[in-house]
C-alpha cells in the first residue's frame, strides 16, 4: 500500500517557517550583538539549527529545482549499473548515515577550537554562513554531477569538463592535501599525548585491540562487524581505566611518558606499517572502531550540550582579531576562513561526494538530502566544538593552546603572559586542572585536541559523575580524537600510496601494480616520508608547529574546494543555466579571495610569525639550525606552487565558460544519457 506523505495545511507551514526564521534571526542577533555577560550555548545551537533549516527548505530547494533540475524520472547509476558491490540503490537515510560517517573527521573539531582565539563570534558566523551558502552547496552539486556521470571522481570530472590541466591540478591538489593533512593531524596527536602516560597507554592499546578485532572478525564471527566494534569499544573503555592505573604506577608511567620527537617517530613507523599490512588486520577494524566511537561520542556531545545548556566564558571577540594571536598568527580576515574548513566548506568533501556516495543514491532528488543535509550535520559538529572550546575560561583556553615559544617555558611565565593579555589564569589553577584530568601539565598542549577534551570533560563533569569523573571524560575525549586521527593516517597513507602507484605506473608499469610488494614498500615509504617530514617539522618548530601546519592544511583544503567549485561552475554554464551561476560562483569568488590572500600572507608577510620567508630570514640572521630555515622555505614553495596551479585551473575554467557563453564552443557536458527509472515507478505503484 503506498504511503501517504505527511502534509500540513499551507497556512500552518507558512506560520511555522516564519517562526523558524524569526527564531533564527533572534538567535543570530543575540550571538552577534550580546556583549558583557555570558551567553548560553543554546543560542549558538538555535542560530545554527534555524539557519540550516531555512537554508535546506528554501535555498537547497531552489538549487534543486532551478539550477540542477533534479529529475525523479532519471535512473541513477545505482539503478542502471547495480552490481551489488559498488553500485547499490540504497535507502536515503542509510546513504545519509554512510556519507556523514565518511565526511566527519577531526577537522570540524579542531578548526573551531583553534579559531576560538578570536572569540566565539567570527568562527560561529563563518561556520553557519559558510555551510549554508558554500559547503552544503559544494557537496550537493558535486554529488549530483557525479551521479549524472556514473559516479565519476572529482579528478575525472575536472579532466572531462575543464580540460587536461584541470585533471592534473585536481590530482596534485588531492595528493598535497593528503600529505599535509596527515602531517598536521599527526602533530595534533603528538601534542595531545606528549608527557601523558595515560593517553599514550590508551592509544597504544587500540592497536592490539584492532588486531584482535580483525582476527575475531575474520576467524570467529565472520561479518559481525557491529558486534565486533562493540567488543572493541568495551576493550577501549577498559584501556582508558587501565591508563589511569598506568599513570599512577611510577614504573609503568615512566615507560609511557614519551617526548614529542619519540611519539613522532613511533607514529611515522606506525603509518608505514599500517600502509603495508593487510587491510583486514589493522586498517579496517580500526576504521570500524573509530566510526563506532565517533558516532556515539558526537551523539552524546549533542545531547549533553542541549541537556546541560552550558554558558560560554569566551567573549564574542578577543583582542587577537588584530592578528597577534598566540594559537596562530594572522587577522580574522582571511585566517578564520582557512582555519575552519571542514565545518564550513571543505574541498575534501568533494572527494567523498564523488566517491562512494553517488554510487548508492537511489533517486536523483535524494542527492539534496544526502549532499546538502550531510554537510549541515557536519557543520553542527563544528558548532559543538566551538561551544566545547568556549565554555573554558579564556585564560585556561590560552594556557592550553599557546606554544612555549610565545608564553615562555615555565608555568609561572606562561600564566603571567596570558594574564597580561587580560585573560587571568594562575599556575596553581592550571596545576589543579591538570591534576583533575590526570595530566602532569596542561600548558603548551597546542593543536586543539587537548582544549576540546578539557571543554568536553568540563561540560559532562558538571552533571555526570562530577569532578571525580573529569579525568575519565578528558581521556575518553583524547582517545576519541587520537583514534579518529590515527584512522585517517592509516587510510590516508594507503590512499596516497595508491595514487602514487597509479601515477608511477605510467613511468614504469611494475610500480603501478598494487599487489607487487616492492612497489607497496617503496610507495608507502615515499608517502610516509612526505607527511613524516611535515610532522617532524611541526615537532621541531619553536612556534609549536600548528602555527605553520594548520594554515597550510587549511589553504590546501580550500584550494581543493576552489577546484571543486570551478568544476561545478563550468558544468552549470554548460547546462545553459548561466543566470544561476551565482550559486557556485559566489562561494568560489569568496574562497579565491580568502585563500589567495591567506597564501600571500603565509608566503610573503613581513611579520615572521605569519610569513614563511620572513621567518626563514629571521632564523638565518639568528644563525638558527639550517633545517628550520629549509622547512620555512619548503612551506612557502608548497603554498606558492599550489596557488599557481589553482590559478591555472581558474583561468582554464573561465576560458571554457567564456567560450560556451560566447557560442564559440558547443555546450556539451559529459553526462550519462537519460534512462527512465523503473525503481521510482515500482515504488510509486
Amino acid at each position: 500500500m503506498p504511503q501517504i506523505p505527511l502534509r500540513m495545511p499551507k497556512s500552518f507551514r507558512v506560520i511555522l517557517w516564519i517562526a523558524v526564521s524569526l527564531l533564527g534571526a533572534l538567535s543570530l542577533a543575540i550571538v552577534a550583538l550580546h556583549r558583557g555577560e555570558q551567553i548560553n550555548a543554546l543560542w549558538l545551537v538555535a542560530a545554527a539549527v534555524c539557519t540550516y533549516a531555512v537554508g535546506y527548505r528554501f535555498y537547497s530547494s531552489f538549487i534543486s529545482a532551478k539550477v540542477l533540475a533534479l529529475d525523479p524520472l532519471r535512473a541513477t547509476p545505482a539503478e542502471r549499473l547495480e552490481n551489488g558491490r559498488d553500485f547499490v540503490p540504497t535507502n536515503k537515510w542509510v546513504v545519509f548515515g554512510h556519507h556523514f560517517a565518511a565526511i566527519a573527521g577531526p577537522g570540524p573539531l579542531v578548526g573551531p577550537v583553534l579559531a576560538a582565539q578570536f572569540g566565539y563570534l567570527p568562527g560561529t558566523l563563518w561556520i553557519i554562513a559558510g555551510a549554508v551558502l558554500g559547503g552544503c552547496v559544494q557537496d550537493f552539486v558535486i554529488l549530483l554531477f557525479s551521479v549524472r556521470r556514473d559516479g565519476k571522481s572529482l579528478t575525472e570530472m575536472a579532466k572531462s569538463e575543464i580540460g587536461r590541466v584541470g585533471g592534473v591540478v585536481a590530482y596534485v591538489a588531492v595528493l598535497a592535501i593528503i600529505v599535509i593533512l596527515l602531517g598536521a593531524t599527526a602533530l595534533i596527536v603528538v601534542n595531545a599525548l606528549k608527557s601523558s602516560p595515560w593517553g599514550t597507554f590508551t592509544i597504544a592499546m587500540t592497536m592490539p585491540i584492532a588486531v584482535l578485532m580483525g582476527v575475531y572478525l575474520r576467524r570467529i564471527r565472520p561479518g559481525k562487524v557491529l558486534e565486533t566494534s562493540l567488543l572493541g569499544f568495551v576493550l577501549v573503555l577498559a584501556a582508558i581505566f587501565g591508563g589511569q592505573w598506568v599513570s599512577q604506577t611510577p614504573s609503568w608511567a615512566a615507560i609511557f611518558t614519551l617526548t614529542a620527537p619519540t611519539l613522532a617517530v613511533l607514529i611515522i613507523i606506525y603509518g608505514f606499517a599500517a600502509s603495508s599490512l593487510p587491510v583486514w588486520l589493522l586498517l579496517a577494524p580500526r576504521d570500524y572502531l573509530s566510526t563506532f566511537v565517533k558516532l556515539g561520542t558526537i551523539s552524546v556531545l549533542a545531547i549533553g550540550i542541549v541537556a546541560l545548556r552550558p554558558s560560554l566564558n569566551m567573549p564574542p571577540l578577543t583582542r587577537f582579531a588584530d592578528g597577534t594571536g598566540p594559537v596562530f598568527a594572522g587577522t580574522i580576515l582571511p585566517f578564520v576562513f582557512i582555519t575552519i574548513a571542514c565545518g564550513a566548506i571543505s574541498g575534501f568533501h568533494a572527494l567523498i561526494s564523488s566517491g562512494t556516495t553517488p554510487k548508492l543514491i537511489r533517486h536523483e532528488p535524494e542527492a539534496r538530502f544526502v549532499g546538502y543535509g550531510g554537510m549541515m550535520a557536519e557543520s553542527m559538529v563544528a558548532i559543538m566544538a566551538m561551544i566545547a572550546a568556549c565554555v573554558l575560561q579564556p585564560g585556561v583556553y590560552f594556557a592550553v593552546n599557546s606554544p612555549a615559544g610565545i608564553v615562555g617555558q615555565t608555568p609561572e611565565t606562561a600564566a603571567a603572559a596570558i594574564s597580561s593579555w587580560g585573560f587571568p589564569v594562575t599556575a596553581a589553577q592550571m596545576a589543579t586542572l591538570a591534576h583533575a584530568v590526570g595530566e602532569q601539565t596542561l600548558f603548551n598542549r597546542t593543536g586543539g585536541a587537548p582544549a576540546f577534551a578539557v571543554g568536553m570533560a568540563q561540560i559532562f563533569s558538571n552533571t555526570l559523575g562530577g569532578q571525580a569523573l573529569m579525568a575519565l571524560w578528558y581521556h575518553f575525549a583524547i582517545m576519541f580524537e587520537a583514534l579518529f586521527i590515527l584512522t585517517i593516517i592509516d587510510a590516508g597513507t594507503r590512499v596516497g600510496r595508491f595514487m602514487l602507484q597509479d601515477a608511477l605506473g605510467h613511468i614504469w608499469k611494475p610500480l603501478g601494480r598494487t599487489s607487487w610488494y616492492p612497489s607497496i614498500l617503496f610507495t608507502s615509504a615515499v608517502v610516509v616520508a612526505a607527511w613524516g617530514n611535515f610532522l617532524w617539522q611541526g615537532v621541531k618548530d619553536p612556534l609549536g608547529g600548528i602555527n605553520s601546519l594548520w594554515p597550510l592544511f587549511g589553504i590546501c583544503n580550500q584550494l581543493l574546494a576552489t577546484v571543486a567549485l570551478c568544476v561545478a561552475t563550468t558544468i552549470i554554464v554548460k547546462l545553459g543555466r548561466v543566470r544561476y551561476i551565482f550559486v557556485t560562483l559566489v562561494p568560489l569568488g569568496w574562497l579565491v579571495a580568502v585563500t589567495f590572500t591567506a597564501s600571500w600572507h603565509k608566503v610573503l608577510d613581513l611579520n615572521p610569525r605569519i610569513g614563511f620567508l620572513s621567518h626563514a630570514r629571521q632564523l638565518a640572521s639568528a644563525g638558527a639550525n639550517p633545517r628550520l630555515i629549509f622547512n620555512d622555505r619548503l612551506d612557502a614553495a608548497v603554498t606558492g606552487v599550489l596557488v599557481m596551479m589553482v590559478a591555472m585551473i581558474l583561468i582554464e575554467s573561465s576560458l571554457e565558460c567564456m567560450r560556451v557563453i560566447s557560442g564559440s564552443k558547443s555546450a556539451a557536458t559529459k553526462e550519462a544519457p537519460f534512462v527512465m527509472t523503473k525503481l521510482a515507478l515500482e515504488e510509486q505503484a
Binding site: 551489488g84 542509510v94 545519509f96
Partner: protein, 81 residues
Amino acid sequence: MKLNDSRRDGRIRPSRWAKPGWLLPALSKMAKLLQAILQEIFDESAYQRFLGRSGLQSSPSAYAIFWQENEQARSRRPRCC
C-alpha cells in the same frame, strides 16, 4: 510529474500521526532504519549482498573472499578530515 505529490487529486490527506497507536510502529520503524544505517556503515549489508550474489554460506573462508574482493575499493576510499 511529481512522484511524491500527495495532493495530485486536490484533497488534503489526513495525517498518519492522527491515527491511534502510531507511536510503537513509528519507533519500531526508526529502530529498523537505524539498524539498516549501521549495517551499511559497518559493511554488514555489503557482506550479506556478497553472500547472496555468490551463493556462499557465511564462514571464515567466505569472509576472506569478500575481503579479497573489497580490499582494493576499501583501500582507495578516503576518510575525510
